[in-house]
Symmetry: D2
Subunit: 141 residues, 4 copies
């Protein structure tokens, strides 16, 4: 996992309610963390507003490497790793701050699709968004 | 607390993710349980669909008497205790099934307001709803 | 997706709070639905109590095919598709009831690991559990 | 509501998943916001660790004045308004930043009880905690 290939990083505040009965962040909260990270990434890079452009998730994969606890300082790294016609892939790394540096605790990937909720079908990625995504990530479109 | 004054009762399925690090249902989940109960009550009594009539909560009170655990069988009792012009009050009792009968673990009350999200102001309770609420609870309107 | 290869099915009650601002069940709730289904499956097949045996998730994959709405009747199918030494795989299908039968809306897979939270290392699957899992699924162990 | 009587203020990051189908933060999330605020308050004032001292909530009241949306900048004010033998009261104000200053959107109050989960009974507030609470709030104990 090469953290250096990520251009966006954000802090993830852990909520007490995120914990499960074992005292660890529950598995179903990791997609929430990815969502927080992705929302922040989009706000910064695309000046995205959730209301104007519908997005759906097509697929999600999460690899849980180390559990997260309440007092952990958690960071999320986000990058767009593929930009298609209507869809794009996003990759995530979560780290925990330790005395010897950040330790990777989770990796993940989601495939997202621009979606027209009225017509119930995929929409092409708006051109302005595509350009910014490609430019920010220096992707070959 | 007179359970007999309640005409609606429903089962509340406890989710593992509802638990906190102490192994008990977290405090912020109780309003969720009230909401589940109230949604079921309204579906039955008013044939309510969430999309057509906006509702907001004006006030909520919860009294926590006994904690809830994952394996508990939880029931919610709901009644409308007051019907006003635009607003109404709902009261709740949560119980846990025990070998010696149901034990009250939580009581609560919410004040709800019919709300026009476009105009951003309260709406009178639709007459058909008011009639059904009053009839079901045998309230003096 | 062969629903007939699944021996366990359960009803998933959708909560109003599961919805996002688009009116659909939010992506991060699907793992919650898998967890509800898996907990029910284990209770029935293994007589499992969450407190005695720690389990962690190693990996999760979700494929989102059709969105879920509040009034949908959702069912979850669960099967154990692999039983290893310390770990096992679970597969999930979520369906929505329609007039023409159940429609698949989500598929998923999780890899779970028996875990000793004190020693912070994997534990072999208890023999009694393994036997029941294999017998229920008629797996070749 | 006198904001000036509050000595602690913290930022509350709104999550997309906090929203309901109307696009507003769902009612059951407000207690979560109070919890985030209270946890931060205690970390700062009492150097509190969740694991060593059990706390339960006895009562909660929430007054919803203005709804919260995803892009709102939300702040929470917290103060301890009463310190008893085993219990204490906490008051909360949530505000939203607007061009003309912060606007109050929610007020609330919770009664908390130090609790011994083993013995299942209230515990006196540890003396060191009481002193810090009283000193920080300049309360008459």
């Amino acid at each position: 996992m090469d953290i250096n290939s990520y251009n966006y990083k954000t802090y993830i505040p852990v909520r007490f309610g995120d914990l499960n009965a074992f005292g660890y962040v529950n598995n179903d909260v990791y997609l929430t963390y990815f969502e927080i990270a992705h929302t922040g990434y989009w706000r910064q890079i695309l000046n995205w507003k959730s209301k104007t452009h519908g997005l759906i998730m097509g697929k999600a994969e999460i690899e849980f490497l180390k559990p997260i606890q309440l007092d952990d300082e958690v960071f999320a790294y986000v990058k767009t790793s593929r930009v298609g016609n209507c869809s794009f892939d996003v990759e995530y790394v979560l780290t925990i701050k330790t005395p010897s540096g950040e330790q990777i605790c989770t990796t993940g990937k989601t495939s997202c699709i621009f979606f027209d909720f009225e017509a119930k079908k995929p929409n092409p990625i708006p051109e302005a968004f595509r350009e910014k995504m490609v430019a920010f990530e220096a992707l070959v479109s």
